[in-house]
Amino acid sequence: MRSTDEVSTVLLDLRAVPLEKVPTLSPAALGRMVRRARTETPAPAPVAGFNSALSRY
């Protein structure tokens, strides 16, 4: 955590980047964002016998 009481993130802030410019970001920067967006929380196999959504992780 930073001393200014802010938390740095790994995500580019694209709000101020004109949308038409987004595809021209470097392939690396765009690729990193895409990899992040594609990430799924690992889904374990369903457990037989549990009766609650709570058991799924």
């Binding site: 955590m1 930073r2 009481d5 802010e6 938390v7 740095s8 993130t9 790994v10 995500l11 580019l12 802030d13 694209l14 709000r15 101020a16 980047v17 004109p18 949308l19 038409e20 987004v22 595809p23 021209t24 970001l25 470097s26 392939p27 690396a28 920067a29 765009l30 690729g31 990193r32 964002m33 895409v34 990899r35 992040r36 967006a37 594609r38 990430t39 799924e40 929380t41 690992p42 889904a43 374990p44 196999a45 457990v47 549990f50 009766n51 609650s52 959504a53 709570l54 058991s55 799924r56 992780y57």
Partner: protein
């Protein structure tokens, strides 16, 4: 003088095939002084496999190793064939079961890597590294067939397979041998376009007797080459792991090295040749004939015998094992004398600095003077930051309106990035026709105009949870198409539909139309007809009836056009046309007018909204991309069923506001859609959240509002944590990707609510959900009466015990980043409220 310790080896390179289908002129196996490959079996025989597996298991047991890494290598290991690789993989797993974990990899040139190999590796949990030297020109400088043909297209196809959704988890990284005559930044960019999780830039193997190629007067051009890439890598926010740079940065900070080419850590590698010989690191083949040999083998000797070989022991001595020049060097702890092989000189053996000494000194000095700053500075574009109070509030299990707004804003960036990536990839893909690309350009132009002139309308549109799921699906299918998978048909079939790729891509037009409608801005786009309907995400769909007289096998029109004019939306399908009043459409009560002479009928189905004091929540039972949850989505609800939902939701929301008020602000700010799913088994409540659908909760309608309140609170915990994980590394991703196989037990955790073991992120998700569920039952045991109160009390005790145990496991995992430690500390504060807090 004490005897040096026996080295603890943990990485075994198995030479499963001693020949190669390429004839790269920089190969250290075939082009160096050691030509021992001539006399070895072409492929590792079964008796060698059996003995090798036994030896590794025997050594792992006696050395009490937690994990061994086995790399299937060559020559070209794929030439060994799937049956032989199967025997090795299953033999290792069987022998090491109950002994230690196994991280199994293969390193290949990729030219014959096909889908069948990938399916086999997926079954066996074998990660894949591929050699490629950059773009076509750079790669073909050395990596060619014996007849001079290029290997580039075949390698690219193999990497394309690893980039598809099916096999991405197997993609370990790329290995690039440096040639300083190639442009470094072009090489870097060509490799980064392949989206590798890791890149290894290798100095060409050389010795003082056979020094590396250098230009006249140049003394550190390998450093200059790497420094150019380092600067680019930093400027782009270190988008992939680069082992050389990560190791230098780690070593400079007092951490470990990730390569034996740097640092003073003892070497831990042993090579086993196709004839069963134990050998030292195989790069020694460039030193002299027989240099890697140990005189031991799997039939006669345990691995300990090879580990005691003087050549292996010599690489365990740390700084004391280096020559005087190195010992006096200011960067010795980072450099470590470089790769052992590179120190060789015929007259003095290995007691020399590296032949790359000037390069290593310059590179390490440069990196130490220019460490990474903020991780995400890309050409002046800053990274998102979260406020400290908001982060702590979320970490404690809650998160108010401000904290959720910050998460919403990060998702907005994420979706903007995804839209740009889909557009960029589709309009540059040979698998997408010119006419589809033209439609995409029109839609993109509309979106870009709206971004300039009506940013709020676009932002509201991009909040729809299923845009991210749509974009990820498109990218997966485009990757599959690039890999030659017939327009990504495989992925579509796996997803349970036969929607063609152009229809998926065309949804960009529907997104643009929705944004234009929200902005009340004139626009015209082409959109797909999906499942007999024209969709406007988050607004509704026009369901088309069949035209009278149509033959059953006559094809439906594939596209429609949507025009947004002053106060109306005109949808045209073939020769038929309908008009929707714009104001009514935005209010959810549109008036639909069919043009005279239409051949078919159509009806508008709006996205209906659940409402209760303080919240309006779209119930989305029509979005074509909503089926991304754990459970199959329900079809469009009848008005009666919607009314039941509305009634149950209103009561549930009242309960949340009254009894669980700490969760209400986050829900009100962040909940963007409720998606009905099919009912579960009798007595089982069904609900889900999806990482790629921020703000959406899917559920089957429970029988009572108390259960719905619990499901909403529970699932929204996953929504919040998923969004935090999208932007913050709470645990060390290297744990799962590079140093430990995620399917191996030693990096799995036994959540107290499950009988099997799971990955750290699953444990974190479960613990975070349990925090809120515990809190729910804590309140409920006091507000309920009779048996319901007793049941709530017992559930509270169980959930509290589970969440506390899980939080302790997380805190003790050793895998959390400093930010993760801070996050889990806040979870701990919530799980042990004062004055019960543990020490």
């Amino acid at each position: 003088m004490s005897r040096p310790p026996v080295p603890r080896l943990s990485q075994f390179i198995l030479k499963v095939h001693s020949r190669c289908d390429l004839a790269c002129d920089h190969c250290y196996v075939y082009e160096g002084p050691d030509q021992s490959w001539h006399g070895r079996p072409v492929a590792m025989p079964d008796e060698v496999i059996t003995r090798t597996v036994q030896r590794i298991a025997e050594y792992a047991r006696s050395s009490r190793l937690g994990t061994v890494q086995v790399v299937l290598h060559g020559g070209e290991p794929l030439l060994a064939g799937r049956p032989r690789l199967y025997r090795i993989a299953t033999g290792l797993r069987s022998a090491l079961r109950g002994v230690c974990g196994l991280d199994l990899m293969i390193h290949t040139n990729g030219v014959i890597l096909d889908e069948k190999f990938c399916e086999f590796f997926a079954e066996q949990g074998i990660r894949i590294g591929i050699s490629i030297d950059g773009d076509r020109a750079a790669n073909d400088r050395h990596r060619r067939y014996a007849d001079g043909r290029s290997s580039y297209d075949r390698v690219l196809r193999a990497i394309g397979l690893l980039r598809t959704a099916r096999f991405r988890h197997l993609y370990a990284g790329l290995l690039c041998t440096i040639d300083v005559t190639n442009d470094p930044v072009r090489v870097y960019q060509a490799l980064m376009q392949l989206e590798p999780p890791q890149i290894d830039f290798l100095l060409p193997h050389a010795t003082w007797d056979h020094p590396p190629a250098r230009g006249p007067g140049a003394d550190a051009e390998y450093a200059d080459w790497l420094i150019a890439i380092y600067q680019q890598w930093l400027a782009e926010g270190r988008p992939a792991q680069i082992r050389t740079f990560d190791s230098i940065l780690s070593l400079l900070g007092g951490g470990p090295s990730f390569t034996e080419a740097l640092g003073l850590d003892p070497a831990h590698v042993l090579v086993i040749e196709t004839d069963g010989s134990y050998e030292q690191v195989d790069s020694l083949k460039v030193a002299f004939e027989g240099a890697p040999g140990t005189g031991t083998n799997v039939f006669a000797d345990p691995i300990d015998a090879a580990a005691r070989h003087p050549g292996v022991v010599a690489r365990q001595q740390g700084q004391a094992g280096l020559g005087q020049t190195c010992q006096a060097c200011p960067v010795v702890t980072t450099c470590g004398g470089g790769l052992y092989t590179h120190r060789y000189r015929g007259a003095s053996g290995f007691d020399n600095p590296s032949v790359y000494c000037t390069d290593l000194f310059k590179l390490i000095s440069h990196v130490s003077r220019r460490p990474p700053g903020r991780p995400d500075a890309v050409a002046g574009t800053p990274a998102h930051v979260l406020s400290g109070p908001g982060f702590r509030s979320l970490a404690g299990g809650f998160g108010g309106t401000a904290a959720l707004t910050e998460l919403i804003e990060t998702q907005r960036s994420l979706v903007r990035g995804l839209l740009g990536a889909v557009y960029q990839k589709a309009t540059n893909s040979p698998a997408v026709s010119a006419s589809v690309q033209a439609s995409l350009r029109r839609a993109w132009s509309v979106l870009a105009d709206l971004d300039r002139q009506h940013p709020a309308a676009l932002a509201a549109t991009l909040r729809h949870p299923y845009l991210r799921a749509w974009a990820v699906r498109c990218l997966d299918r485009l990757d599959a198409a690039t890999a030659g998978d017939a327009e990504g048909a495989g992925d579509a079939e796996a997803a349970g539909d036969d929607r063609p790729l152009p229809a998926d891509l065309g949804h960009l037009g529907a997104i643009a139309a929705t944004a234009a409608i929200r902005a009340r801005a004139a626009a015209g786009v082409t959109v797909p007809v999906l499942g007999g309907a024209v969709h406007l995400p988050a607004l509704g769909r026009l369901v088309l009836g069949a035209p009278p007289g149509r033959w059953p096998d006559e094809e439906e029109p594939g596209t429609a056009t949507i025009s947004v004019i002053s106060n109306a939306v005109i949808i045209r399908v073939g020769d038929d046309c309908w008009t929707l009043g714009l104001t009514g459409l935005l209010a959810g009560v549109p008036d639909l007018t069919a043009s005279p002479g239409n051949a078919r009928v159509a009806g508008w189905q709006p996205v209906r909204v659940l409402s209760a004091p303080g919240i309006s929540l779209p119930l989305d039972d029509i979005d074509p991309y909503r089926d991304c949850h754990e459970w199959p989505v329900a079809p469009r609800l009848s008005d009666t069923e919607f009314a039941r939902w509305d009634h149950t939701f209103a009561a549930a929301w009242q309960l949340i506001q009254r009894d669980h008020a700490a969760y209400a602000p986050a829900l009100a700010a962040g909940l963007a859609a409720l998606v009905p799913v099919g009912p579960g088994q009798p007595g089982r409540d069904v609900s889900a959240a999806a990482r790629q659908a921020f703000g959406a909760v899917a559920a089957a309608r429970p029988s009572d509002p108390v259960t719905l309140a619990l499901l909403l609170i529970h699932e929204f915990q996953h929504v919040k944590l998923g969004a935090v994980l999208d932007v913050c590394d709470l645990y060390d991703p290297a744990d799962g990707r590079f140093f430990h196989a995620p399917w191996e037990d030693d990096r799995l955790f036994h959540a107290p609510w499950r009988e099997d073991k799971n990955q750290l992120e699953s444990l974190l998700q479960g613990a975070y959900a349990h925090l809120a569920v515990t809190d729910f039952w804590r309140v409920r045991r006091q507000t309920a009466a009779g048996p319901a109160a007793s049941e709530a009390a017992s559930r509270f005790e169980l959930c509290r015990a589970h969440s506390r145990e899980a939080i302790k496991m997380l805190a003790n995992s050793g895998s959390l980043t400093p930010l993760g430690v801070a996050f889990v500390a806040e979870m701990r504060h919530s799980a042990w409220p004062r004055p019960e807090r543990i020490g």
